[in-house]
Symmetry: C2
Subunit: 410 residues, 2 copies
C-alpha cells in the first residue's frame, strides 16, 4: 500500500490544482451541473461536492438545485459563478480609442465604456490620466458592490509580460515605458496590473469566448493601422522567451519593398492593413476610420479602383497567411479588426491564393473565420489576462475579500 508521503505529493498541492480546475470550468463555460464538472475535470463526485462547497463558503460560486425533469436519478445541482464576487478591470489603449470594462467571474461584462480619441501622439502622462478618469467614472466600481481581483491592460505595442514593460509602440509614438508600473501607481488599486499586446489578447479572447472556441492551435490576425497578431499553441498563448512573440506584422514578406515603421524593409504591415489599403485605393493613408468607412462604402457600391485595391490586399493577406500556415499548422486563422470587416471582399481571392501558396497538408484542416467578438476582443482578452493568477490558484484568494474590497475603493 502506498502511504501519502510515499506518493510524494502533498495533498495541499493537489487540492489547489483541483480547486483551480473547477473554477476554470465554471469561468470558461458558465453555469454547469456537478455531473458536467465530474466529466470535465476527471475528479470524483465526492471531491467535486467538497471543493464546490469551499467556493460556496468563500462566496465565489452558488448552487442551484436543478428542477427534476423526466430523467431517472437525482438531478445534479447546477453550479453558478457570482460575477461580482471576483471581477477584473480591463483596459485597452488602442490607436484611436480608450476602453475600460469590468468583467465578472464567468465572463459577464458588468460595465464597458469606450471613448474615441483623435489619432496622434499623446504623452504617456496624458493617456494614463485619461485612463484613470475613465475608470473613476465607472459606477459599478464607485458603488463598492464588486470585488476587484486584478487589472489587465491591452496596448497596441510590444510588451514584456513579466513586468508590463512596453518597449515600443510606434503607432502611439512611445518607446521604453514601464506601463504596468505607471498604471498601477496611477490607479492606486493595490492590485496586480498585467499588460500585454492587444492582438495577443484578442487571440486569447477569441479562443475563450469567440470564433476560436474549441480550437487549440489558432492564429489571430488583427488589422488596424498596423498589423498585430496572437498565436495560440496547444491552448496557450505563445509568448516566446520574453513575451515579445506574435509580431506577425513584422514578417519580412517583401524584403526589397517599402520601409516599415519598425526600421526594417518590406514587413507584412507595409503591404496589408489600413495604410496600405487606403494608399492603393487612392485615398490618404492617414485618413483613419472615416476613410476606411468611405472605402467600404465604395466597395459595396462596386467601385472598380476600390475593388482592385481589395484584390491586392487579398493577395498579400494570403502570402502572409500561407507562411503562418506552413510554419504553425493552425486549426483556425481568425481575421480581427479591419481584416474581419474586409472579409466579404477578400475571401475568394484569399482562398484561391492560399491554394497556390500554402502546403496542402496543413491547409486541409484549416479554417479562416472573421473574429467573433468584434472590436472588443482585445479588451475582453485583457480581462482574461487579469483573471489568470486567480484561476491558477483561487485558494490563495480565500479570506482576502475584505482586503480586496478596501483596495478597490481606495
Amino acid at each position: 500500500l502506498l502511504g501519502h508521503d510515499l506518493i510524494g505529493q502533498r495533498s495541499g498541492t493537489v487540492r489547489r490544482a483541483n480547486l483551480s480546475a473547477i473554477l476554470r470550468v465554471v469561468h470558461e463555460h458558465g453555469p454547469v451541473s456537478r455531473s458536467e464538472l465530474v466529466a470535465r475535470t476527471g475528479l470524483t463526485r465526492s471531491a467535486i461536492r467538497a471543493l464546490v462547497s469551499e467556493f460556496v463558503a468563500a462566496g465565489l460560486l452558488f448552487e442551484e438545485r436543478a428542477v427534476p425533469g423526466g430523467l431517472p436519478g437525482r438531478p445534479s445541482p447546477v453550479v453558478h459563478p457570482r460575477p461580482e464576487a471576483a471581477a477584473v478591470l480591463a483596459i485597452e489603449i488602442a490607436v484611436d480609442s480608450l476602453a475600460v470594462a469590468v468583467v465578472g467571474l464567468g465572463g459577464a461584462t458588468l460595465e464597458r465604456r469606450r471613448v474615441e480619441r483623435p489619432r496622434g501622439h499623446l504623452t504617456v502622462d496624458e493617456i494614463v490620466a485619461d485612463v484613470v478618469g475613465l475608470v473613476q467614472a465607472v459606477p459599478v466600481l464607485a458603488g463598492g458592490d464588486v470585488t476587484l481581483i486584478g487589472v489587465g491592460v491591452a496596448v497596441v505595442g510590444v510588451v514584456r509580460r513579466s513586468d508590463g514593460w512596453l518597449s515600443m509602440a510606434p503607432n502611439l509614438g512611445w518607446r521604453d515605458v514601464p506601463l504596468g508600473a505607471r498604471l498601477s501607481s496611477a490607479l492606486g488599486l493595490r492590485l496586480p496590473v498585467q499588460v500585454a499586446n492587444e492582438a495577443d489578447l484578442g487571440a486569447l479572447a477569441e479562443l475563450r469566448r469567440g470564433a476560436a472556441r474549441g480550437a487549440d492551435d489558432v492564429v489571430f490576425l488583427s488589422g488596424e493601422v498596423g498589423v498585430g497578431g496572437g498565436i495560440i499553441v496547444d491552448g496557450q498563448p505563445l509568448t516566446g522567451v520574453a513575451g515579445y512573440a506574435g509580431e506577425l506584422g513584422h514578417m519580412p514578406l517583401n524584403p526589397d519593398g517599402l520601409r516599415c515603421g519598425c526600421g526594417a524593409t518590406g514587413c507584412w504591415e507595409t503591404e496589408v492593413g489600413e495604410r496600405a489599403l487606403l494608399r492603393r485605393a487612392g485615398r490618404s493613408p492617414d485618413g483613419g476610420r472615416v476613410a476606411v468607412n468611405e472605402l467600404l462604402e465604395a466597395a459595396a457600391a462596386g467601385d472598380p479602383k476600390t475593388l482592385a485595391a481589395l484584390d491586392v490586399e487579398a493577395r498579400w493577406l494570403a502570402i502572409g497567411i500561407a507562411g503562418l500556415v506552413n510554419l504553425l499548422n493552425p486549426r483556425a486563422v481568425i481575421l480581427g479588426g479591419l481584416f474581419g470587416r474586409l472579409q466579404p471582399y477578400v475571401a475568394r481571392r484569399l482562398e484561391r491564393e492560399l491554394r497556390r501558396r500554402a502546403l496542402a497538408a496543413p491547409r486541409s484542416t484549416l479554417r479562416i473565420s472573421p473574429a467573433g467578438l468584434g472590436i472588443d476582443a482585445p479588451l475582453l482578452g485583457a480581462a482574461e489576462l487579469a483573471f489568470e493568477p486567480f484561476l491558477s490558484d483561487p485558494a490563495s484568494w480565500f479570506g482576502r475579500r475584505g482586503e480586496l474590497a478596501d483596495a478597490a475603493t481606495a
Copy 2:
C-alpha cells in the same frame, strides 16, 4: 482533514506521474544523486527512495553508493540508467544517406551506422528494404543483449505524427506514403514506430542533448537540399493541429521570386540552402555534397565569386530569421546541417542584417549558434521521439521485458 477521495485524485495517477518525472531526469541528465532528484522533481526524499527502488527492481536503474567525501552528512547514493535495459532503434531517411542507431536509456549511443546513398529517387520499397538490411546488420540487436522499447524515424518530408503518414517528400519524390505502417510491418518488431520530420527531430535532439540545452524556446534551422526546421515552444516541439508545423523553408519571403518545388513562389528555400547557394556561386545546383565541399574550399581560399554568393546567402538567411524572431521570440536559433557549416562565412553579414530587420526587443535575448550534434541531430532526435511514450508512463512497461525481448529478436 482531507481524505484521499476528497482530494480527488487517485494515488495510482500520482505515482505514475512521479515515476515519469524521475525517469526523465535520469534519462536527460544521466547519473544523478538522490539529492539532485529531490531538487529536480520536488518530490520528498522518502518518495524518491521508494520510487527509485521500483525502477531498480524492474532492472531499469541501479544505485551506486557514493564514496563519502569531505562533506558532512551521509553521502547521497547516485542513480544510474541501465542503457541496455530500455533502448530504442532510431532510423533516418535523408536525401543522400540512411542511418540507424541504437540508443539506450540515458542517451548513450550503443550503435550507429550511416551509409551514403546516391541522390535520386528510389521507391519506398527500395528504401524500406535498405533500412531493414541496415537494421539486421546491427550486432547489438542480433545478440539479444538489449531490450528495445520503440522505434523512431526521421524523414526528410512532411509527416503527420499521429500515424506516421508522409504526405510529401519532394526531395525523395514521394507523396502520400503510410511510412510508419510500412516500416512497422517490414521491421516486424511488434514495437511502436513513430515518424516525424527530420528537422523537427533535429530540434528536439539539440534541445535535449545539443546546442539548445537549457533553452525553452528554440528554432532549429536545417539547411540541406531543402530547408527544414523545428520549433520548440516552452520545451515542447510545436507540432500544430496535425503535426505539420515547422515547414520553415516554405515561408514566402520573395513572393514574386522563383518557383518552389512545393508549387508556390518565392519560398525561403528558393533563396537559401544548397541549390540556391551553388547556383549563385556559378556551380551546378545539383552538384550535391561534392559541390558543396568544393564551394567551402573555394570560400576558405578567398574566391571572390564564392564569397559574394555567401554574402547573398547570409542576407536571405537573415530575412527569414528576422521573421521567425519577430514571430516567435526564441531564445536560440540553431543553425543545423549546411547552415552550420556556412556559419563562419555568413555570421557577420547575418548579424548586421538582423540588426536592421529584426525588432530590437526579441533580438536582445537572442543567441544564434551552430548545431552541437552535427549531422546526427535528426537521428538522435528520432531516438528521443521513440523514448517518449516510455518516459511518459514507465510503470506500464514494468513486467513487459520478456515480451519485449521476444519482439526485438523476432
